[in-house]
Symmetry: C2
């Protein structure tokens, strides 16, 4: 099939282009290709993302919403944006949840008949309640997912610690796909198990790695059920626990003194270059400034923040005067509340703004593979054909465009009916680090990070130049 397409396509060229039209398109194509190449040159030689990320993930690591680190990161990134000569830099207030892990997390298999007592490594899920200072001890029942709960019912689950052990599927090519297939038990496991009288949940970490590193992440409670503690264990510990459960009754002792405090004031950090011709049309590049508390938040999502900041830096350095308004937004509280993203969209709608496009980088600082575009097909075809048709200019840089999700923080902008893009870096290593104590600066490669800035800047250039049809 492709063979015939190619032959006919070549034929069609000579039929469809009058020499004049062809020459003009050709000139424009060359101009675009040349500018995109300059973007890459500058990003790879004069980028600042890597140095910013070093600071953000070492000096301001563990930027969980409401923490002193998050507050300091707001100020640091505001100051850095202030060095870029933008038209304006400001903070946008939002109230955020304030959860703290505390200083105790214990997961202990108690007096196993075959193995005695074994301490596992545990990491409380974000928003989890604590166990109280005495902790709690109960028999463990293993399930493969949320559907098992209803099948087992309260007679099997009441008074138990429910252990969600469904592994992440290693076969999808994009690991984000696998993650989507496993994450429900982490997010909703505690709330759903509580409906049947469970006293706590343990969750197998969501990663395809087999290692001893637990992965945290958010859990979401329901108003109508009791809040029970939820703790992640590593994949190796989960395998150990599953193995024991196949041969004997296992009791586990849990202790955690995490807790939620009253909401705090925090901020989205925003910088923009005003458009020269269509200032009312906004092109947003963003990431989220908060991270989990256990590491530097280098890939998640320090990388996305410095991507967004460096896009403006690179465009400035190139002397580029955008026709449309370029806005960098570092959202607060993506991890356990999305308050920053929601507040940003609320204010934007209230002001009657129009986001022609929003691009979120929240999948790590790895080699770019392309962008996924969220929204109705009619939006692309009717209104953004000129941009989408020129995406082939980015293909020599290893980038492709696909339908798919965009980003949690920009999702609330969907009602403005612009284009929402998710930046898609290579995903193979992401879940080695995601939400763990290993998500630190040393896990990020400089070139891979810089290539992300170049990729996003290039898409921004096309969006700014060709806008809507």
């Amino acid at each position: 099939m492709p063979r015939i397409l190619t032959l006919l396509s070549l034929l069609s060229l000579s039929l469809c282009y009058s020499p004049g039209v062809y020459a003009q398109e050709r000139e424009e194509e060359e101009e675009d290709a040349f500018f995109i190449r300059r973007i890459y040159d500058v990003a790879l030689t004069e980028g600042r993302c890597y140095d910013w990320l070093r600071a953000l993930s070492t000096d301001y690591g563990g930027r969980l919403s409401g923490s002193p680190q998050a507050a300091a990161a707001v100020e640091y990134t505001r100051q850095m944006l202030d060095t870029l000569g933008l038209d304006s830099v400001w903070l946008q207030a939002c109230r955020v949840p304030h959860w703290e892990r505390g200083d105790t997390e214990r997961v202990r298999i108690v007096n196993s008949p075959s193995r005695g007592s074994i301490d596992l490594g545990g990491l409380a899920l974000g928003n989890s309640v604590g166990t109280g200072p005495e902790g709690l001890s109960a028999e463990v029942i293993e399930v493969q997912g949320l559907d098992d709960l209803e099948l087992l019912g309260p007679e099997a689950l009441a008074g138990k610690i429910v252990f969600f052990s469904r592994p992440m599927d290693p076969t999808p090519i994009r690991t984000v796909t696998d993650y989507g297939g496993a994450v429900d038990q982490r997010v909703y496991g505690a709330a759903r198990a509580a409906r049947y009288g469970a006293v706590a949940v343990l969750v197998r970490s969501i990663t395809t790695s087999r290692d001893d590193v637990p992965h945290t992440g958010v859990t979401v409670y329901e108003d109508e059920t009791p809040r029970i503690p939820a703790i992640a264990i590593s994949t190796l510990d989960a395998d150990l626990l599953s193995g024991l459960l196949r041969q004997e009754v296992v009791r586990v002792y849990l202790q955690a003194n995490c807790r939620t405090y009253p909401d705090k004031l925090s901020y989205n950090v925003i910088g923009e270059i005003k458009g020269t011709r269509y200032p009312e049309e906004i092109i947003l590049v963003g990431g989220h400034l908060d991270s989990w508390d256990v590491a530097g938040g280098a890939h998640d999502d320090g990388a996305g923040c410095v991507h967004a900041m460096d896009v403006l830096q690179v465009m400035r350095r190139l002397g580029y005067r955008p026709q449309r308004t370029l806005r960098c937004v570092l959202f607060m509280n993506e991890e356990n509340g999305l308050r920053g993203g929601l507040e940003y969209a609320r204010v934007s709608n209230e002001r009657g703004e129009f986001h022609l496009a929003a691009i979120e980088s929240d999948a790590g600082g790895f080699t770019p593979r392309g962008f996924s575009c969220d929204g109705e097909a009619s939006i692309f075809v009717d209104r953004f054909k000129s941009v989408i048709d020129r995406f082939y200019l980015l293909e020599p840089y290893g980038l492709s465009l696909s339908k798919g999700g965009s980003g949690a923080d920009i999702g609330p902008l969907k009602s403005q009916r612009g284009l929402l893009f998710g930046f898609r870096p290579d995903s193979q290593r992401y879940f080695d680090y995601h939400h763990t104590a290993n998500d630190n600066f040393d896990a990020v490669n400089k070139r891979e990070l810089e290539m992300g800035v170049a990729a996003i800047s290039s898409l921004v250039y096309l969006l700014d130049k060709y806008g809507t049809d």
Copy 2:
């Protein structure tokens, strides 16, 4: 332009396909897509490459030709191939150079007027002669490349240590391109500088990283000029030396006791599954078993070896009976001699063999981006159109096909006029590790490595099924 192509292409479908032809092609396409998906499933869940690489790069690290580690790696990989139930596994003898680094490498800036004496980290280039036990001391002259030597001439260079400091260009998207632009000074610098009476050379390490890790690699002497010592220094040390040279005369003391011993007997390790229908047509997958001496040789080229071995393992596990002969070849001595590759081709030609295709993996165990294909355009178009036209089946896995180089070891097979492919993984991190003490198992990601096996196996499947036209 692409817009019009696409519209016409869609139109053309209805014109060109009679329903019968379409249904048959469609069925074959589905069968191929299904099998390729199974290859990925097996490679990602039952691959053995990662465990093999752990052994190869830890137990048998530093596999430089002629070393005990190289000899042990020959035996280890032969045994592992023997566990796969192949039709035959054998060793192919070849004589290889035997160079040893020795135990002393000193690079010292002596009595700099501004900084006193400074010890730099040095790593002798492979094949380099030593300095003798007393070492040597001389004034340093910095050059940007081979062409500078002729401009400066013997009056400037005689008695000096020539410092080749041209950095690797960070702007190409594939780092292998940058490497090609910088490597000549390392390979030929010593021989060329010796023509003008230089007493030794220092070479800036070939990497875009700025760090204190020196990178070794081969240097090649000429018969007609004296052999002078050649030592690599890290990019940070190179910057320091360049900085000093801008302000003062710098003398450097060098000492190295590396030396070349008589050639030794070694082996290529080969395993094959005989073709059921065209056993005389060989599809080769390969990597090189030798590595530099300073690390585990995990990416270069342990990854390529376990890729090649695991392709056969995965095909066996799938119960695949190839029509053509599948052969895994682990070449000896790619790094400093290519003796294995030359001997393999010599024997193959002598036996009148025909390699329908050869695929070499020698660019690391990173996420696959595709394959580059070496050879005359006429070979593809006339004889391999059926295979090339079906490459689109691999595009959903992020793979693309381009013209370009293949691999050093399979290069000598070119005269058989088959297809020569180079496996192309993502290249951004490769030169962080290449030829350094950091090229160890912990630099390899399991999923990225396994994806390479799947990518190569999928291409092998298409080559085996569709062969030549």
